[in-house]
Symmetry: D2
Subunit: 341 residues, 4 copies
């Protein structure tokens, strides 16, 4: 490892998740040096300078791409910017890590795919972080080793803790709706665990339990969906913004000889509390707490794949397919009919 040159990374977007990536790249990811940051917000750039000591700060994305010697761009920007920013980065000769989802628009996904095909020496990965969680990795290995026989059914949920202030509602109009924002993770996991079967039909439903303001944008705060695959496999999804106890992402993979469940009861730590109310544990409050190690593993994997010139196991096709299915779920929710893919 020591023999290899460290790769220079620039990051665009320093919101909550962007800062997490920036800290990891600066301190914990072997082989990477975070050398530049880009944001339209003065406060974010100030943070990059003060907290991380980064001197090359850009308010303009093209300026970031022009930073001398930059190898890699990390995009933690609004989803609507992803396709164009990825394409620009590829054209500038940079590897790209981009937060999920690739795009809310299938055409955009395909445009990115096409552009990436023109740069086979550059790597592009969309951050489906749950794939890099130690528990999901363990489950995947067990399936590969045949320990549950033939997997045929996935249940997967992404459920956020209720924020009584409904902060997320503000972003709902541009999030693509609950299925593209939350279930896209579950879609990706289902495909991964089931061996990438071809989806053939989806059906979705949903309800507004708390956040009535969602009516305006046709979204729901609790959604369920069924996705059928060509080979008879089925996936069921649940996404929620209103969990009482914390963030609970769960994935259950059922096979002919066993079943694996990842994440049921999202214990915050190893403490159990016995008191007059019974025996309990507290729960991880957010996606960040649940997957903080996975964000690091993800970035470490991406940097190592570039250094070692190894193909990525998580491809742009995976990201495109997740968007495609997510869009179909939204269509089904609105049309109240199954959508054939």
């Amino acid at each position: 490892m020591s023999a290899q040159r460290s790769l220079k990374v620039g990051i665009a977007g320093l919101g909550r998740l962007g800062r997490r990536h920036a800290e990891n790249l600066m301190r914990h990811v072997p082989g990477a040096i975070l050398v530049a940051a880009c944001s339209p917000l003065e406060s974010e750039l100030t943070w990059a300078k003060e907290a991380l000591g980064i001197d090359s700060l850009y308010s303009d994305y093209e300026a970031l791409l022009a930073h001398a010697g930059l190898d890699i761009v990390f995009l933690v920007t609004p989803t609507s910017l992803h396709p164009q920013q990825i394409i620009q980065a590829l054209r500038a000769g940079k590897h790209v890590f981009c937060e999920k989802p690739l795009s809310l628009d299938l055409e955009d996904c395909l445009r990115v795919n096409a552009e990436a095909a023109l740069h086979p020496h550059l790597k592009v990965m969309i951050g489906f972080v749950r794939r890099f969680d130690a528990s999901y990795q363990d489950a995947y290995r067990r399936i590969q080793s045949g320990s549950i026989g033939q997997p045929f059914m996935v249940y997967s949920q992404t459920c956020d803790q209720l924020d009584p202030d409904g902060f997320f509602v503000k972003f709902a109009p541009t999030s693509g709706g609950i299925f593209l924002d939350c279930s896209v993770h579950d879609i990706d996991l289902a495909r991964w665990m089931l061996g990438n079967p071809k989806p053939v039909r989806v059906f979705a439903s949903g309800t507004i339990a708390v956040h009535t303001a969602l009516v305006a944008c046709g979204d729901v705060d609790n959604g369920v969906a069924i996705c059928e695959f060509e080979n008879g496999c089925i996936a069921t999804f649940y996404a929620s913004r209103t969990m009482p106890h914390g963030h609970e992402t769960v994935t259950e993979i059922t096979g002919t000889a066993g079943r694996l469940t990842v994440g049921r009861n999202p214990r915050q730590n190893r403490v159990e509390i016995a008191d007059a109310s019974g025996i309990r544990n507290t729960c991880t409050p957010s996606f960040f707490d649940r997957f903080q190690d996975a964000f690091l593993t993800e970035a470490t994997y991406f940097i190592a794949a570039i250094q070692n010139r190894q193909p990525l196991s998580l491809t742009l096709d995976d990201a495109t397919e997740a968007t495609r299915i997510g869009i179909a779920l939204r269509e089904s929710l609105l049309s109240k009919l199954p959508v054939v893919l």
Copy 2:
């Protein structure tokens, strides 16, 4: 209690579940005396005589109804016989307990309802036994007391352990399919927990993971479904014949302020085993093991309601509605379209 006359019960059907009911009625249900048994099978009548000491044994159902002084009939007979046998019993002036489902045919359900309406002094109850399980009762009470706020979503599953011999396949053609056979419990529970909202639309899907012989009767061994209710509540169902670890019925009720989960990890007892494979518990192998106490509670409740002339909380309308939704699920599975109710 001691002041009241014990009620005379006759039972029709002494298969596995019939014997369970017979033993409970004979030994453990206060206020009941099992005085007569009916079966077309010689072996079942012999069991009634030898194991329980019952002398009044009938091969003919009408003869059972004519047994002098009989108050109540317990029907543990094939589903196809339920409607007519209930109607006959009502006309003979008997209270009726009948195993679920009421019928696979909605017209038949309505015929039974109509007949029962003519005999308001007679009680008829369909054995949705999960309602009488201590854990389900506890969950229901918590919901009633407001502890989860407004319930709006139910996930409920009835999953049987895989029988590699596929014994159940033999009965599949007459079982009504997986939704009417298994999910009918979950449908009933969802309605109960959500306060009997009116169902408006269902969608179902399924797959055959193991028992390929089911193709012949259009059934599946794993089915999932979504049911929407008028008030925005949603229920998701899962039924399986292929669980690797045991019988696992689970019901999860989510409200605006809390979530209750009943039955996740169907521990067989209070033993935990630590060995080279980790830490584990064994699981209840079958519905019988899981609900053996509930069968007794159910019968005890029914007998007490008759003795105390109290209305039943579980009505024929409940049973009819469960069948109606179950039929819609099957239709959706076959038509691949949502079914509007």
Copy 3:
């Protein structure tokens, strides 16, 4: 079974546990008929008449023994009466079931043993009810089948929920102290699980965490102890009157190839509650709730052993040994020194 004559049982003592036994004998134990009850308290006899319809009511124990045709006596009387009452019953030709402990005095235990030896056709069993719990039975069978290799260590606790009123303090002076009252169960279980090794040395300690009135009788509300056996096996005991969450009896048996844990997290039922405080379950409030099935199994076993003339697996020697070790624990607590047995 039907061919055998039912055995006539008389019960002495109708406190909380006595009533439990009486109801079981009257309604649920095959082969037994509860025909007579004895108590010095008018209210208890009234209950026997009204709740169970028992007509033969005695305020005098000798009168109970003289009840015509009585086969068996169930003693649920104060511990100080056990030895003499057992001896009287044996001399009257009755089988005897007696609640634990046999006695607080080793001489008395030996006197009972000697008397019983004179009546080999009569059975005497002391109610170490935890042996009859389905989970403990499962653990025992697993040990017997070799699934944990050679068992060498037991941790066992009997912990009662805190009663802020300290009702039990009233009985503390005659209970024999926490080790003879509570740990006697754990002692018996340790011996059973470990194959009845000979105890050689004990050491005990304790503290008063809440119930300061215990100082007067030299007792504690939390006690711990170590017991060494001849073969190198060790048992550790914990008894408490001050659990915040419920009654929690736990037994952990460690062997060279596995470990079994019985009763950790005393779930009251199969409900899990997720709310703002995390995910929790409620706990069994008392010994009665935890072992209600075991009381029935215990009585059923005893009656069947008499009917089938089979030797008891739980002997008077077991009960004597439990008392002997329990006394040594108390001595160690008071002397602050190990006690050699």
Copy 4:
């Protein structure tokens, strides 16, 4: 943070745990730079150079101390060297982090304490890593906030997975025995959680379940102990080298209003496996897996305390007291008598 000078660290000892510390110091601990390494083993120095790129490599400890500008020494050396090496480092003006235990000899502990008192501007911390685990920290905060009332009892165990090869037996003669090697952690935790009460008396017992070679050095592979404190608090300890399922450290703190349990069921990750054997999870195989995050938190805490000139919450007195109690436990094991402190 960025304004502060990074502290230069030298490490002595690069065995398994030493390498862990070295990697953390090199890559993950803010404010620290690992600049030098010391080991008598050529292979360890080679590793330091190749894996971490450290150029200043010493086979001699005094040479390490003489490294120009060194601020801190990390000692991950054999226990017998700790006291002298700490004293040397202090005299050379270095802060010292030293792996536990401080020493197996009480006089040595006191000598170190005395020396440290002469250098109040230098910090010395012994690595009781469990204090820095997120779950233990959470438990401690809950106790401090009064959530379990007054804590009065601790049960704490350090149980290692069985190594059939008995690799540890080789080190047993110099480990100080199971109580000084393993339980010293539990002793420290009990003191911490209970508010550092003064110990007054201990009693210990033990057995050899598997590793018969331990007879030679008077050690056991399973030990239990009771420790009484002046204020009536009690701690019970269990240490084992023979767990079948993994490394399981557990600490249970019971108070008058609640109980906290840390680490029961040492889940390796968030995967649950359902198969024909039931439902299970795998377990953390070793102390390293269980506490890998805590080693980093510990070093981070120590470096930050030096940088910020803040007093350590974990003191040399704590380490001395743990050794003092651990020695008493060993004495009790050998003498078969309680030891008064």
